[in-house]
Every structure is written in C-alpha cells, then in structure tokens.
C-alpha cells in the first residue's frame, strides 16, 4: 500500500532562497500565479508560466521527482477533465467522430490546456508546501488574514486548527498502516475484489482510526492547556515574519508575470 506516498502538506527542510522567503510572500505569489494561470490562454502565455514555475523549482532545489510524485493522486481528475473537455467542447473544426462524440481541434486544445493548467496549479502549490514549514505557512496565513479578525473571523483558531491537522497527517498515516497490518494479520483483504468490496473492507479500518483520532485530540488538548495555551491573545512568536528585499523582488516579479499573462491572454496568445 502506497500510504507513504501521500505528500499532502509535506515539508522538505532546506536552505534555498525560496525556503527563506517570507511565507506571506510565497502565499501571495502562489495566489498571483494561480490568477495568472487562469488568465493565460495560449502557448505563449503558458510558456511564460511554465518558465516561471521551472525557475522557481530550480531555485528551491526541491527535487522535481518529489513534485511529480505528488501528482499521482490527481491522475484520475486529470484524465477526467481532459476527456470532458475533449468531448464536450462545442463547435469548431471536427477532427474525428467516435460513436456519438465529435472531437474538434478546439476540444483538443482546450483539453490540453486544461490538463496543463491543473498540473501547473498543483506543482505551484506543492512548491509552496514543500518549501514552507506548516507553522510558518499558518503564521503567514494568520498574518495575511489578520484584518479579518476585526469582523470576528476566528483567524488564529483556524490557523491553529490547520497547523495541527498538518502535524497529525504523518501520525495518522502511520496509525492507518499499523491498523491495516493488524487486520491483515487476521485475514482482512484490502487489495482484491471489486471497488465496492474494497471500499467495504476499509470500513472496519475507519472505526478504530476515528476512535483513536478522538482520543489523540483529547490528549493533545490537555497537553496544550498544560503548556498554557489560551488562544491567540497575547501570543508571541519564535520567528517574526519580516519582509526583506528578496520578498519585494519576488512579489514584483510575480505581479509582472500576472500582468504579462493577463495581457498575453487578452490578445489570445
């Protein structure tokens, strides 16, 4: 079972310039990058986005393999969106006829760009989580969303919940592995049978996992109280967030890319 392959929210410690950027910069850059991706419309603008992505990955020194590995769980979604766009793009030059579906040239382009867009979207967000420790990431989010506290949005609580969820992903994965082994040892079969049968085999796995998760939550809450946790009020931070020259430079670059993608996209390039 490839449970260990799940890379969601994994962080690769490192010392690259990308790692050292302020988390807020990286968050904003990713938002800009996503906007730019949706503005891009043709080969030239996509090439620009791809160049920006590859350059960022190269500077971050995150092994490209790690990013590719993270793509595995979304292959299904990719294929699905690809096919959907391929067959359901109305009008245009027909290329081929399959049963009741017509494949058009426009459909091919649209499917291609949609798949590339999703791939780049995922790669960009992975780069963010790979190069930013979850605590810094939530710090960044908390700081960026800070103004929302004025309208009673529990920003600190949300950030804390997110960071704890990220912290427990590897622990719960390990636990799932253990429970699966224990049940396999008693004859449970997770790997064969129809999809429905396999889904049903997972049910006895979820029950102990949930019970243990609740027990963990309870113990963690007590341990946090013991360490004087009392909400976001009056809390300080080990690491202070501070924008530096490299942060301003990065933001300017990504802003420029977004504008460029917007302009190129507007002219259909």
């Amino acid at each position: 079972m490839a449970l260990k392959d799940i890379t969601l929210g994994q962080y690769f410690p490192g010392n690259s310039p990308v790692h050292k950027l302020d988390p807020r910069t990286k968050l904003l850059a990713v938002v800009l990058y996503i906007v730019a991706l949706f503005l891009a419309s043709w080969f030239i603008s996509y090439a620009l986005m791809l160049a920006a992505l590859c350059l960022s990955i190269a500077i971050s020194r995150v092994p490209p393999k790690a990013i590719l590995r993270g793509m595995k769980p979304v292959v299904f979604i990719l294929v699905f969106t690809g096919l959907l766009n391929l067959f359901y793009t109305p009008g245009g030059t027909p290329l081929a006829q399959v049963w009741i579906f017509t494949i058009t040239l426009e459909g091919v382009y649209r499917a291609f760009f949609m798949v590339v867009r999703i791939l780049m979207l995922i790669a960009g967000t992975f780069l963010l989580t790979y190069t930013t420790s979850p605590i810094l990431l939530t710090d960044g989010l908390e700081s960026l969303l800070g103004p929302l506290k004025k309208v009673k949005v529990p920003v600190h609580e949300l950030a804390m919940m997110m960071s704890i969820a990220l912290r427990f992903i590897p622990t719960l994965i390990e636990e799932t592995d253990k429970i699966m082994s224990a049940q396999r040892a008693r004859g449970a079969d997770f790997d064969s049978g129809s999809l429905l049968q396999r889904a049903r085999a997972l049910l006895p796995l979820l029950v102990p996992l949930f019970i243990s998760a609740f027990r963990r939550a309870d113990e963690l809450a007590t341990a946090m109280e013991c360490r004087c946790y009392h909400g976001g009020e009056g809390r300080t931070r080990l690491r202070q967030l501070k924008y530096r020259a490299s942060d301003y430079l990065t933001l300017a670059l990504f802003l420029a890319i977004t504008v460029a993608a917007g302009v190129l996209g507007h002219f259909g390039l």
């Binding site: 605590i135 590897p170 080990l238």
Partner: protein, 281 residues
C-alpha cells in the same frame, strides 16, 4: 510555606456519573511536595495516581479539599496561567503532546503562549533542547524521531516554560528500554543540575527506586510515603495493594522468610550483593 511547591489538603475527587453514585477516585489525599525534591508516585492501574497528577496544575479541580501550587489555590481561575507555568506536565504518549512539525517550533509553543519576547524564546528553546540533549535535532520533524527522542522533546517543551516543578505521568510506558533509560537520565539531570522538582508517576519499581521519596497509592488514598528503602521494605503491604517490589528487595525478602537475617533496605544491585556477601561471610 516557601519550601513547599505543591500541597494538597484532604483532596477528594470523583468523576461525575449520571446514573449512579459517583465513585470517589481520590479519597482524602494530604500531601506536601518540597521544592527541589524527586518524588515518585507508585500505584496499580486505577489507583488514582494520574487523577492526582492532573490536580497539580489545575487540569482537574478538586471535588472536595484544596490544592495549593506555590501557595496559589488551583481553584482560583485568575491564577491559572501562573499555576500552569509553575508546574509543567508530561504525559505518556509523546505523539499526542507535540503540536508542531519542527522540533524547535514545538519547544517554542509554551513560551509563545506566555507572550515571551522572540529573542528570549530563542534562548529558552536552545537551553531546553540542550537540557534534554536534543539540540542537534532542533530542525528535525518530530514524527521521524524515536519514541524516547520524542518524549525528550515533550520534556523540553515543558522546560521551556521554566517551571519549578515537572510532573511526569508514566513518561516511559510506551518506550523501548533505550528510550526509557534516556528519558530517566534526563529527568534525573533536571532534578540534580537544575533543581527542578520532579514528580514521577510510574508503576515501574526500579524507576521509583531512583527517587528521593516514594508515595504509594491505592484506591484513592496514600498508603505509604517515605524514602524508597523504607517503603520497599514493607513488602507485604505493597503486595496487598497489587504492587511488586524491586527484584533486589524481593530476593532479600524471600531469604528472610526462609529464616535468614537479611536487611530489606538494600535497593541497588551493589547494596544487595554486599548484603548477600555479608551473609555468606
């Protein structure tokens, strides 16, 4: 008063039960724990030792009687943070105590909550990690460490509050022998070198034997309290409450039952060997 860090006065506690008479978990506990001492609390499962520990930093509040931490009543909500920063607590499962994904960020959690300035947090984190001998792991991810290492991180997370007392609730129960030894050495060093009061809750006799004072609990009451040598020599009483004694004492006790004149207060292997040697001489 200044020498007593924790004091309980006829402490009673029962978990609320809807359908039946609440069963008392703690039934009149009177204790005084001195600043700087190393106290072990021993007892069989369900004797109330963990419940007692949770009263030491106001995680639980007494149903009857009072608990004072450094002179502060734990029932006083205003002093809650002061009480919790005075008495730190470490639990059995290290996984469920670690909050952050990076060791040093986890150790920083308590001082962050207390609003300590960032420069001082840095200092406290480094100091705490050095105290548990985990400084070189400060940038590691906790879930990749061994159980003993994780538990030492949890201890560091408490030390970073600079508490005067640390209560450890069966900190070695889930560890392998090496992890257990490392954690125990850390605890002893804390007590000896930093003068931190240590309250170690355990059901391992050999761990309790290292303490300066042993308190034995059964059915929510203190049934024995004294120096380990004195407490462990009361073999029959301990057996009556479901505890075994250290192997050394066990051996000497069996010999004594056979009519030999052996002392019962030889706890360490060396002392036991010496006692046997004297016997054979």
């Amino acid at each position: 008063m200044s020498d007593t860090i924790i004091q309980t006065k006829s402490l009673q506690f029962s978990y609320p039960a809807d359908d039946r008479e609440p069963l008392p978990v703690l039934d009149g506990v009177d204790l005084e724990i001195e600043q700087g001492s190393f106290v072990a609390i021993l007892g069989h499962n369900g004797c109330g030792k963990s419940t007692l520990a949770k009263h030491f930093n106001a995680i639980l509040l007494p149903s009857g009687g009072t608990v004072y931490v450094n002179g502060m009543d734990t029932g006083d909500g205003e002093k809650l943070l002061d009480i919790r920063r005075t008495v730190g607590m470490v639990f059995q499962n290290p996984d469920n105590q670690i909050v952050a994904n990076v060791v040093e960020e986890d150790v920083a959690f308590a001082p962050e909550n207390l609003g300590v300035p960032p420069a001082e947090i840095r200092q406290r984190v480094d100091d705490a990690l050095k105290a548990v001998n985990m400084y070189e792991y400060r940038e590691h991810a906790p879930h990749l460490l061994s159980g003993g290492q994780k538990q030492r991180i949890a201890i560091a997370g408490v030390i970073a509050m600079q508490p005067r007392c640390v209560v450890l609730d069966e900190p070695t129960a889930m560890l392998d022998p090496i992890g257990r030894r490392d954690v125990l050495n850390t605890i002893q060093a804390l007590n000896r070198e930093r003068g931190v009061t240590v309250v170690l809750i355990t059901h391992h006799m050999d761990e309790a034997a290292q303490a300066g004072r042993v308190i034995v609990m059964s059915k929510g009451r203190v049934v024995a309290d004294g120096h380990p040598k004195e407490v462990f020599s009361r073999v029959e009483e301990l057996r009556a409450v479901g505890l075994t004694v250290p192997q050394t004492t066990q051996l000497l006790w069996e010999l004594r039952r056979e009519g030999l004149d052996t002392p019962l207060d030889a706890l360490s292997d060396e002392e036991c060997a010496q006692a046997l040697y004297n016997l054979l001489k």
